[in-house]
């Protein structure tokens, strides 16, 4: 199984844990991820507010144009990147006029994109291509009894509704968590927004949104939160303390990328576990499974 891989900016900074674990897990599952050479920022959900959707999508398309020659599905880890690349790709496939004009712009950089590729979220690729059975077989350290809140977040499932799961009440992640031997907790907020890129400009939004998510996770008795999204992971991890300060709560719920949990369950290298990157320390909670390393 070969794929083009688009890491995205956060993977090189705030979400290195995601990158490490994705690479290790993919390898373990026999997926070869080929990074798109000289990829650029997709613009996320921010850039279009300054330069408009079209320009942002053309920027994103540059990556697809480069990837097209490789003729492989483009796999994305970051939800926000997935959103912008998937929507861009959809427009190239469905909107002829857009494709023509956008290619006129790409031509300025000597590029062209036909819209031949599929853009996919890593979570979906693990489940649909590798398959839950394969995942279950790989488990060497079953996460028995670990209560995990599967926090898919918003953009992964709503980029293209029903593309691979219910946009409001996704279940993919829960199935995966169960495949690892852990228990997926009841978690109504599993697809609600964490406040996304407002951390800097409107911290209150992030704090308030996170608070609700912690409350919901705690109510379900979750010990850890697992997510595919760097933005969600950052907000929930970095601002958990802040939430407690501002709201007199005392949540202590480590927030991990689902790929980190997979790395542990698969008994891959501790480098792949990348637990040091967690601000809310997961060591105690995970002790029963990380023993010996």
């Amino acid at each position: 199984m070969k794929y083009c891989f688009y890491p995205g900016c956060s993977m090189e900074a705030t979400a290195q844990a995601n990158l490490k674990s994705i690479k290790a897990v993919a390898e373990a599952l026999g997926m070869h991820l080929e990074e798109i050479p000289d990829w650029n920022c997709c613009g996320a959900t921010v850039v279009s507010s300054v330069v408009g959707d079209f320009t942002q999508q053309v920027m994103a398309a540059r990556n697809l144009a480069i990837a097209e020659s490789m003729g492989l599905d483009v796999v994305v880890g970051c939800s926000s990147c997935y959103l912008s690349l998937a929507i861009t790709n959809k427009r190239f496939k469905e909107d002829e006029h857009f494709r023509a004009v956008a290619n006129e712009a790409l031509a300025a950089g000597g590029l062209k994109y036909e819209g031949s590729l599929r853009v996919r979220q890593f979570l979906e690729v693990v489940i649909n291509d590798a398959g839950l059975e394969k995942v279950a077989q790989m488990v060497k350290r079953p996460l028995d009894g670990l209560k995990v809140a599967g926090y898919v977040g918003c953009q992964t499932v709503r980029a293209i509704p029903y593309e691979f799961d219910d946009p409001e009440y996704p279940v993919f992640m829960d199935r995966l968590i169960e495949a690892l031997g852990a228990a997926a907790t009841e978690f109504p907020m599993k697809a609600r927004c964490c406040g996304s890129s407002n951390a800097l400009a409107a911290t209150d939004i992030v704090v308030d949104s996170s608070r609700k998510i912690f409350a919901s996770a705690a109510e379900g008795g979750a010990q850890v939160i697992a997510t595919p999204c760097p933005m969600c992971q950052m907000n929930l991890d970095a601002y958990q303390q802040r939430v407690n300060q501002l709201h007199g709560t005392n949540y202590y719920i480590p927030v991990l990328f689902f790929t980190q949990l997979m790395a542990i369950a698969f008994d891959l290298s501790t480098d792949a576990w990348a637990l040091d990157y967690c601000i809310v320390s997961p060591y105690n909670v995970l002790a029963p499974f990380t023993g010996g390393k």
């Binding site: 959900t45 850039v47 507010s49 406040g195 800097l200 601000i279």
Partner: protein
Amino acid sequence: MEQKNTLTEPVKYDLSFAREIYSLENGYYIKQCMQCGMCAVACSTREIMDYSPRQLFNLIKLGKKEEVLSANTFWYCTSCCTCKARCPRGVPLVDVMHDLKKYAIEQGYDQYPQAAFYKAFWAEVAGRGKVFEGGVTARYYLIRGLDEVKKALAMKDVGMNMLKHKRLPLLPPKKVRGLGDLKKIIHKAQELQRKEARA
């Protein structure tokens, strides 16, 4: 939650503003709004929005330019796409909100901190082809000015934690090699975008 509703004095309907908004990249779709109110409930930041998207679209229809452009609605949009996924009329609300942010900035309604963040973010991407948190933050505070820095200090514990856990590289990532081409592409895209808008 009590939505802001300052319309005490009678409204005079005026379509000229609406037509301007409808002509934005995704503005066309606003016309399809049937005032059902799904978006008001879907929104994850609805408690702090002064107008729900539905109300905002209504204000546009009524020609209330000032209320619309000074509303916090689109600035507080987190692009979570819930409204977009639910809208029974297929209005891509997130994209519409992007248009409104852009329009507001162009019209000088950029007092909201998000505006600064977006500008900072864009400056980073335009200059490097990739985003560097450190750079974005720095530029953000440059734009916002000193008093904002006080807030920053209140936030420093978060920053420290990030650093401690190797999440804030001090050095920016390598520039995109094809940055020159990328810039050409963006330049061309902007030009075409303006042409498309006129067409």
